[in-house]
Symmetry: C2
Subunit: 219 residues, 2 copies
Amino acid sequence: MNFSTAEENYIKAIWRLQQTDSNVTTNELSEELHTKPASVTDMLKRLKEKKLLHYEPYYGVKLNADGKKLALSIIRRHRLWEFFLVDKLKFEWDAVHEIAEQLEHVSSHELTERLDAFLGYPKADPHGDPIPDRNGKMEAASNISLHELKEQQAAVVTAVGDQSSNLLEMLRQKKIGIGTKLEIKQRFLFDGSIEIKIRNQPLTTLSDHLAKNIFVKTV
Amino acid sequence: MNFSTAEENYIKAIWRLQQTDSNVTTNELSEELHTKPASVTDMLKRLKEKKLLHYEPYYGVKLNADGKKLALSIIRRHRLWEFFLVDKLKFEWDAVHEIAEQLEHVSSHELTERLDAFLGYPKADPHGDPIPDRNGKMEAASNISLHELKEQQAAVVTAVGDQSSNLLEMLRQKKIGIGTKLEIKQRFLFDGSIEIKIRNQPLTTLSDHLAKNIFVKTV
DNA sequence: ATAAATTTTTAGATTTGTCTAAATTATAAT
DNA sequence: ATTATAATTTAGACAAATCTAAAAATTTAT
């Protein structure tokens, strides 16, 4: 299937925002894309029709598998072109973003693959961002544990320490999952426990032990 | 100024048709672009507003200096990308047209110039078509004299043998100029003269001598 | 728990680029 | 020189992507 430049830009923006907050809101998107919230609502309805994302009115949006796949292919094209512009055409690394924004929408699988080969299968673009391979796989960004996070520093959950049912059950009750955005409000020196805030949730306290098993990325 | 993909495609199509018939009609354009004549009329009005062409309702269209300049810059981008796709990405020469149709609309002067340099300032694309330089200059296509043209073969006037006022006066009377589209209807073996047809003109006969001083390109 | 503030959606409009059907103008044929 | 044919334009409609203003739903604060 083929998508318009506008549709691809929405998918890309949702993907980017999802990295730091798995549930993306209309306002966040409108700011990211420099459009009005009403325009975002319209487009989300269209993209839901096209089965690229989950969208519930008033409750934000999340890419589904097809949406993520599309997002990664756009990001792949963008970063390959950035590499080309700097490595072959000798652009400065900070001058290539806008041109790559246009080139990324040229949709030809054959072109992307041949470009990748021509460039020698680069692993990262000139800004250091990893380039997804043709299957959408790329290196994970590095994480820190929630225990190491600074107070008042917004962050998002990226992984958990183990898959034990005890841990998962506790996370479920605390309404913490991959993609949950949170912030440390207070640190208790007595036992090293922390008090965190999640949007739409009351303040809750996590033990030192639990915090060490939750991995986050700062926003 | 910046132009949409649709606008650029119209300008390019008009330019292409102008090469063989300086006055381009609505129907010719609609066929070239696979759109309906009514859509062409709409777009011509918009492009006239943008001062890229001369357009008189019912009397066809002609690019002005700005339109030609734009056309040549699009053709330049198209042919440079074709060269890139074949020379660097190892595409077959007959597989690159559609991809270049997309790449040509990426508008960045800096990109075009750096691409040209990277490719080593190629003179022609993989199909042998000349690549305009940054000023829009390119090699002229080769011509034959009207005297050598086959009967029933449509052709267009590209040049005249000399600039003598006697010749120009005669051409003016015969309503023949650069870009005039014509066809040989009959050849008189007695004196080598030819009878030609120009759209909207009655049949007229040209001497052997005159025909040798008019240069045409077959359509 | 209700009111105030914020966020989101709906309704209606606009621009670009296209279409179909009807009307108009130009060209060709008798 | 008129009529028939062909080309072109006009009128009205539609989809995509956007906007503003108003309405509705949700969240926050008292």
